[in-house]
């Protein structure tokens, strides 16, 4: 059963019977109890969700830990196609998108998301290396809401994330 469907079912059952236990949910949905627990935890997570897209695992982990400590819910993707998939399943509040990605690059990801009416409202911050700075214009034209040059200052990127999120909420 698809995650999304599981979430929907859980949501429906809880609505019907607010005092339902995890055990009962697992039984009625025929899935392990720990999955139900995990899904519930996710569903009850009210933190803002950030999707980081970067093929460099170390860079991704460092940023993830830093943002998690700032109480963000961080999900990750290592390439363009899975990034688009994650946007659709996780519905992040903001996407931090590295430019150089395998399969399809950051521009293409941005382009696809911004041309999809369902997801074009999701703000995107481009992470670009300095040599690719000329691309920032292209990035913004493509609909990226902001860009940060790598290697970035941690405070700077945190500030920018806050700014973009506030703008999106307005």
């Amino acid at each position: 059963m698809e995650q999304e469907q599981i979430d929907k079912e859980i949501f429906r059952l809880v609505e019907q019977k607010p005092e339902i236990t995890n055990q009962e949910l697992a039984r009625s949905l025929a899935i392990p109890e720990n999955v139900v627990k995990e899904r519930l935890q996710r569903l009850s997570d009210t933190r803002q969700k950030i999707l980081i897209v970067d093929d460099e695992l170390d860079a991704l982990i460092a940023l993830k830990r830093a943002l998690e400590s700032d109480n963000y819910n961080v999900v990750e993707a290592a390439d363009g196609l899975s990034a688009i998939k994650k946007v659709k399943t996780e519905k992040p509040d903001i996407v931090l998108l590295d430019l150089m990605l395998p399969e399809i690059d950051g521009f293409e990801v941005c382009n696809r998301l911004k041309s999809d009416p369902l997801y074009k409202h999701v703000p995107i911050i481009m992470l670009t290396a300095k040599g690719e700075i000329n691309d920032k214009i292209e990035g913004i034209e493509m609909g990226a809401d902001d860009y940060v040059v790598k290697p970035f200052n941690l405070n700077e990127i945190k500030t920018r994330i806050k700014m973009v999120l506030r703008r999106a909420q307005d």
């Binding site: 460099e56 170390d58 860079a59 460092a62 830990r65 830093a66 941690l154």
Partner: protein, 578 residues
């Protein structure tokens, strides 16, 4: 074959050749004419000279005859009793040419003479009405020659009247007769030069003609119809006693008008004037210079042929030259095209190299920046100091890992730079391959253990040692083993084996990994070539390892290649010199 320019050249040469030939023909004809004129002149003057000689001869002959008679007439003091008969006999016999010599007494009767058979003794002039000449000399007391007359014998004869005066008293005349034929036989009959000779007296009567065209004893001056006007004019000049040259045209047997050259010279004796003429058709002269004509003609024809051949040759030469030039131009054009093509391809290659260099630089900068980026984020996060100890440890580990990665990257970059610039140094020494392989396997032991991969070393005991750079060979083995382990799933196998050849050893490192797709096999030794960046990232390579290995093997005269089947495994094979 000919271009427009060639054709105009051809016309020019043809015109020049025609002009040259025309000039030569013109000059040839002119010189022919000049030669003809000169020959004609020479011929004419020679003819005139001959003519004069004949005339003088006849003149002397006739005058001598008269002189002989006159001497007889003057030496006697009285008429001898034999009426000069003995004298006449002496003269007749000693001096040839007389037909008869006779004495006519004062009464006009022929009383004696010699030879008697040629004279009518007793013939009286007065009785026969033939006394006019007799009377003339009686009156003039001068020798008189009567005009040529037909004699009784039917022949033309000359009558020379010499008056005989003894002591002032007329005693008759001595009449001597000379046959014209005697004179002409002596002087003209033997004429053997070209042309015809004729003799004319002062009244225009033809006395002799060896051509038989003119009738003897006929006066042509009064009958202008039978001879042409020019010849008549010449006859007129002749009877006037002049000497000279003239031309007339006569109609030949076949109807052509033939030009004739006439020379004439007078014979003067006493009261008579005769004239000898010689005629020659110009064709006789022409026949003389005919050989000159032939030679001239041959010369002209030869010149023409020579000029034509020459111009043909020049035309051929020109066209050949043109052809050579055209070929040269075509060849040069081809060469220029070739070199242009070469330059273009060189340019493309340079652009490619430049592109590669740019790509390389951007790759390098990316590869160097990526760990920096991760380290910076981690370090700044640590600085904030609001993380628990496990995260702190993770961050520190990340930093150290990226420092190592960057160090490796810098080392690899240095290696590749040395290899590409040819500055890599090898320290070859006798190397035991068992030792090297053991060291290398030890080096990757922990990694292989992690993935539960077994490394089999299948080297013969008596494997010969090789001469190579030890450290670099370890680098090669470690790198290839690392690769093999990285791309082999957990629980797989890696095998090291060798094959010995005459001059070299072939080392094989075989894994049971994911393999390489055929379209990637050729490119795996390229710098930064990554089949799948995610998988590469997962195993943390710099993207330069295989390039460096290739540089090390080939730098020492070996070769390296790869054989691979996707999902079955990959074998790297490289050679080492013994």
């Amino acid at each position: 074959m000919f271009t427009r320019q060639n054709r105009s050249n051809l016309y020019l040469i043809a015109v020049v050749a025609i002009l040259l030939i025309a000039t030569i023909i013109f000059l040839g004809i002119r010189s022919n004419n000049e030669a003809k004129n000169i020959v004609e002149q020479q011929f004419t003057s020679q003819q005139l000279l001959l003519n004069q000689q004949i005339s003088r001869g006849i003149e002397e002959f006739l005058n001598e005859k008269i002189l002989l008679i006159e001497i007889i007439a003057k030496q006697e003091s009285k008429v001898p009793p034999d009426f000069f008969k003995s004298n006449f006999k002496t003269i007749y016999e000693e001096s040839s040419g007389f037909f008869a010599i006779q004495y006519v007494n004062e009464s006009g009767t022929i009383v004696s003479g010699y030879p008697e058979e040629n004279l009518p003794l007793g013939y009286n002039l007065f009785e026969n009405n033939r006394s006019s000449a007799f009377e003339t000399v009686q009156k003039s007391k001068e020798t008189y020659i009567s005009d040529v007359v037909q004699m009784f014998e039917g022949e033309l004869g000359l009558f020379i009247w010499v008056p005989l005066f003894i002591e002032g008293e007329f005693k008759g005349t001595i009449l001597s007769i000379i046959k014209v034929s005697d004179v002409t036989d002596r002087f003209l009959k033997n004429y053997s030069s070209s042309g015809h000779v004729y003799l004319i007296d002062k009244s225009g009567i033809i006395l002799y003609d060896n051509s038989n065209e003119l009738q003897l004893n006929k006066n042509y001056l009064n009958t202008t119809d039978e001879i042409n006007l020019q010849q008549g004019t010449i006859f007129q000049k002749q009877i006037n006693g002049t000497e000279g040259i003239g031309n007339f045209f006569e109609t030949s047997e076949n109807g052509d008008r033939v030009k004739c050259i006439v020379t004439y010279s007078p014979i003067r004796w006493r009261n008579q004037i005769w004239s000898v003429g010689i005629t020659n058709p110009v064709s006789n002269v022409d026949s003389l210079i005919h050989s000159v004509y032939v030679k001239q003609g041959a010369f002209i024809v030869l010149s023409g042929i020579f000029i034509l051949t020459g111009s043909m040759w020049i035309i051929l030469l020109l066209s050949k030259w043109n052809k050579i030039l055209e070929e040269e131009v075509a060849y040069k054009t081809y060469e220029i095209k070739q070199s242009n093509e070469l330059l273009r391809s060189a340019n493309i290659k340079l652009k490619e190299v430049d592109q590669l260099k740019t790509e390389f630089v951007s790759m390098v900068s990316h590869e160097l920046r990526t760990p920096l980026s991760a380290m910076k984020t981690s370090a700044e996060f640590l600085k904030e100091d609001n993380c628990n100890s496990s995260v702190k440890a993770e961050m520190l580990e990340l930093i150290i890992r990226n420092i190592d990665r960057q160090t490796r990257m810098v080392g690899d970059l240095l290696d590749i730079s040395r290899i590409e610039s040819g500055k890599i140094r090898f320290n070859p020494e006798i190397t035991d391959l068992h030792e090297i392989v053991n060291l290398s396997v030890k080096n990757v032991y922990s990694l292989s253990k992690e993935k539960d991969i077994t490394i089999h070393v299948n080297l013969p005991k008596d494997l010969p040692s090789v001469r190579t750079d030890k450290d670099k060979l370890i680098q090669v083995f470690v790198n290839l083993l690392n690769n093999a382990i990285k791309f082999t799933p957990t629980g797989g196998n890696v095998e090291i084996s060798s094959v010995e050849f005459n001059n070299f050893l072939e080392m094989r490192i075989k894994d049971t990994g994911i393999g390489i797709a055929p379209d990637h096999v050729d490119k795996i030794f390229d710098k930064f070539y990554q089949i799948d960046s995610t998988s590469t990232r997962k195993v943390g390579g710099s993207g330069l390892g295989l390039s460096i290995i290739k540089g090390i093997i080939e730098g020492q005269g070996g070769t390296i290649r790869v054989e691979s089947t996707p999902h079955v495994g990959t074998t790297f094979i490289f050679t080492l010199g013994k």
